[in-house]
C-alpha cells in the first residue's frame, strides 16, 4: 500500500509531460486546420510554418493552443481524449457491438488463454522429459535456449497466412502463436525448477527408498513452483503480444491488433491509442492475477513469495 503515493507521483509526472507535449506535436496540423476555418494564423502559409518548430508556432499563436487538445486527428492525442475514447468504447457500447472494446478484447483474449494453456502444458511435459532423459537434455535443450534468441514474433503474421491457406482458421492459428511464445519460457524455467533440489535432498529421498515418481511428486514438482510462476508470468504476456501481432494480417477484423491497424490506416488515432492502452491494461491484469495466485499458492506451500 505504501507504493500508492510513489506510483501516483510517477504517473502524474508522465501525464504532465504528455499534456505539455500535446501542444508542439499537434501545432502544425491545428494551424493548417485553423487557417481552413478562417482563423488568424501567423505566419499565414503552410510552407512558412514549416520553418518553425511546434513550440515556436505555439508561442506565435497562443489562441490556437486550446484547439490542440480537442483536435480530431492528432499526432499525439491528449490523455483526456484517450480516456474518453476508452470510456466510450468500453462502457458506452453493448459488449456484443463491434464498436465495443470489450468485444475486441475477448476476441484477443480467448486465443491467448487457449494458446497459453496448450503452450504451458506442452512446456511442462517437455521439461519433465528433459530432466529425466539425458538424450533429450543433450539434444533438445540447446535448441530450446537458442530458439529464445530468434525473433520468432516477427514471423507471426506469415504463420497465420500460411495456416489460413491450408484451411486452418478462426481461433486455432492465433492460439498456435500464443502457445509457441509461452512454450519456451516455461520449458527453460521448469527445467531449472525441477533441477532445483540439491543432492542432499535427493539423497534423503533415496535413504527413504523413494521411487522415481515419488521423488517427482514429493520433491521436484513442489520445488519447481516458484520457477513455474515466474515463467507463467513471462509466458502470459508473451502470449498476449503474440496474439495481437497475429491479428495483423488481412484476415483479422476483430481484436486489439485489428483495432490498432484500423485506427492507423483509416486516420483514427484515438481508436489506436484506446486499443493500445486497453491491451496494456489487459496484460497487466493477467500478470497481476498470476502474482496473486503465486502469492497464495506459495504461502500455502510454506514458501516466501518475493
Amino acid at each position: 500500500m505504501k507504493s500508492v503515493l510513489p506510483i501516483l507521483t510517477v504517473i502524474a509526472a508522465i501525464l504532465l509531460f504528455w499534456v505539455v507535449s500535446v501542444v508542439p506535436m499537434n501545432m502544425h496540423l491545428v494551424a493548417d486546420q485553423a487557417q481552413r476555418d478562417a482563423l488568424v494564423v501567423t505566419p499565414d502559409t503552410p510552407a512558412a510554418r514549416q520553418d518553425y518548430s511546434g513550440t515556436g508556432l505555439a508561442l506565435r499563436n497562443p489562441h490556437l493552443i486550446p484547439l490542440t487538445y480537442t483536435f480530431v486527428r492528432p499526432r499525439l492525442p491528449s490523455p483526456h481524449q484517450v480516456a474518453g475514447e476508452m470510456y466510450k468504447t468500453i462502457f458506452g457500447q453493448k459488449i456484443t457491438s463491434k464498436r465495443s472494446l470489450v468485444f475486441h478484447g475477448w476476441v484477443t483474449l480467448a486465443p491467448t488463454l487457449l494458446g497459453f494453456l496448450i503452450g504451458t502444458t506442452l512446456g511442462i511435459l517437455l521439461a519433465v522429459g528433459i530432466v529425466y532423459s539425458r538424450v533429450m537434455d543433450l539434444s533438445v535443450m540447446p535448441w530450446a535456449i537458442v530458439s529464445q534468441t530468434i525473433p520468432i514474433l516477427a514471423l507471426a503474421p506469415m504463420v497465420i497466412v500460411v495456416l489460413g491457406s491450408m484451411g486452418v482458421q478462426g481461433l486455432i492459428p492465433k492460439s498456435i502463436i500464443a502457445a509457441y511464445l509461452s512454450f519456451f519460457p516455461v520449458v527453460v524455467g521448469m527445467v531449472k525448477g525441477l533441477r532445483g533440489p540439491d543432492s542432499m535432498q535427493l539423497d534423503l529421498l533415496r535413504t527413504y527408498s523413494a521411487s522415481k515418481s515419488q521423488g517427482f511428486w514429493a520433491l521436484r514438482l513442489p520445488a519447481s513452483a516458484p520457477y513455474l510462476f515466474a515463467s507463467l508470468k513471462i509466458g502470459i504476456s508473451a502470449s498476449l503480444v503474440g496474439t495481437i501481432v497475429a491479428e495483423l494480417p488481412t484476415g483479422a477484423r476483430a481484436g486489439f491488433g485489428a483495432r490498432m491497424l484500423v485506427g492507423d490506416q483509416y486516420g483514427q488515432p484515438l481508436v489506436s491509442w484506446a486499443a493500445l492502452f486497453a491491451a496494456a491494461i489487459t496484460a497487466a491484469a493477467l500478470v497481476g492475477a498470476f502474482s496473486v495466485i503465486e502469492r497464495i499458492t506459495l504461502k500455502r506451500m510454506g514458501m516466501n513469495a518475493s
Binding site: 504517473i11 534468441t149 495481437i244
Partner: protein, 280 residues
C-alpha cells in the same frame, strides 16, 4: 513413398546415434556435447527436406531447406543490405540508446526509494504496451527510415534493462557497504567500486533478454512503413510475392543475428563478471 521411408530411417538413425552418444562413456566430453544437438538439428533438416519431397508440398506453404540454402547463396548482397539497415542501424542504435537511458534512470531511481517504488510498476505497465500499437505511432512521428525503428527498439529494451539494473544495485550486503564506509568512501566511489560491479550479473541478464527484443522490434516496426530495404520490409514483400524461400532466408539471417548478438553479450559478460560463481 521412398522419401517417407527415408525420412523415418533418418529420424531413427539420428535418435539411435544420439542415444548411443548420450548414454555412452564419452557423454561428458565437450565435443560430444556439441555433437549431439548438431546431430539433432541435422536430422530435423533432413527429415524436413525428405518430407517436402515425399508429399510434394507446395513451396508457397513450406519450401525445402535446399531451396532456402540456394537463396542464401544467391541473394547474399541483398541480405547483407537488409541486415545493415535493420540490425546495425535500427536495432543496434535503439539498443544502445535504450540501454543508456535505462541505465541512467536506474541510477537516478536508486538514489531514492520513493522513486524506485513508483517507477517499477509504471514501467511494467509501459512495457506491456504492445509493439503493434507503438510501432505505427513512431513511424508516423519519426518517418519511415531507421530512426523510427531505433525509437521502437529503445522503448522495448528500456524496461528489462531498467528492472535488472535496479535489482542489481540493491545486491550488496550491509557488511560490504559498511566496509566501504570505514574506508571513508562517499556515494560515487561506493557506486563505482562496489555497487556497479556487484550489479553487473543482473545488468547483463537484462542486456541479454533485450537482444531478442531489439531484433523483434526492428523487424516488426518495418511492417508499418520502411524504405525499400530492411529485413522486415523484405519479409513482408517477399511474402506478398509468394517467394517463401526468401522469407525463410531472412529468417535464417535473423536467427543467426539473434544468436550471434546473444552470444556476443555472453562473451562480454564472461569477461566482466569473471568473479561471479556462475562463471567460475
Amino acid at each position: 513413398m521412398m522419401a517417407i521411408f527415408g525420412a523415418l530411417v533418418v529420424w531413427g538413425a539420428g535418435w539411435y546415434l544420439n542415444i548411443r552418444l548420450a548414454n555412452g562413456s564419452h557423454s561428458n566430453n565437450p565435443f560430444v556435447k556439441a555433437l549431439i544437438p548438431a546431430i539433432f538439428g541435422i536430422t530435423l533438416i533432413l527429415v524436413w527436406e525428405l518430407l517436402v519431397w515425399a508429399f510434394d508440398i507446395n513451396p508457397v506453404i513450406l519450401p525445402a531447406p535446399s531451396s532456402i540454402g540456394a537463396r542464401l547463396m544467391v541473394e547474399g548482397p541483398r541480405l547483407w543490405a537488409d541486415f545493415q539497415q535493420t540490425i546495425i542501424k535500427g536495432a543496434m542504435t535503439g539498443y544502445i540508446l535504450g540501454g543508456l537511458a535505462a541505465f541512467g534512470v536506474a541510477i537516478l531511481a536508486d538514489r531514492s526509494d520513493f522513486l524506485t517504488r513508483g517507477i517499477l510498476p509504471v514501467g511494467g505497465f509501459m512495457a506491456a504496451l504492445p509493439i503493434v500499437g507503438t510501432a505505427p505511432i513512431f513511424v508516423k512521428w519519426l518517418g519511415s527510415d531507421w530512426e523510427s525503428k531505433a525509437a521502437v527498439v529503445a522503448v522495448m529494451v528500456f524496461f528489462p534493462i531498467l528492472v535488472n539494473t535496479v535489482a542489481g544495485l540493491k545486491d550488496t550486503s550491509a557488511m560490504q557497504r559498511d566496509l566501504m564506509r570505514t574506508y571513508g568512501a562517499g556515494y560515487w566511489p561506493t557506486l563505482f567500486k562496489l555497487r556497479l560491479p556487484a550489479a553487473m550479473p543482473f545488468i547483463f541478464n537484462g542486456l541479454k533478454i533485450a537482444t531478442t527484443l531489439a531484433l523483434i522490434g526492428a523487424i516488426v516496426a518495418e511492417f508499418f512503413g520502411s524504405p525499400t530495404v530492411g529485413m522486415g520490409f523484405r519479409i513482408s514483400t517477399s511474402f506478398g510475392q509468394l517467394a517463401l524461400d526468401m522469407v525463410w532466408a531472412e529468417i535464417v539471417v535473423a536467427a543467426l543475428a539473434g544468436s550471434g548478438f546473444y552470444g556476443a553479450m555472453t562473451l562480454i559478460e564472461k569477461r566482466v563478471t569473471f568473479w561471479h560463481p556462475s562463471q567460475r
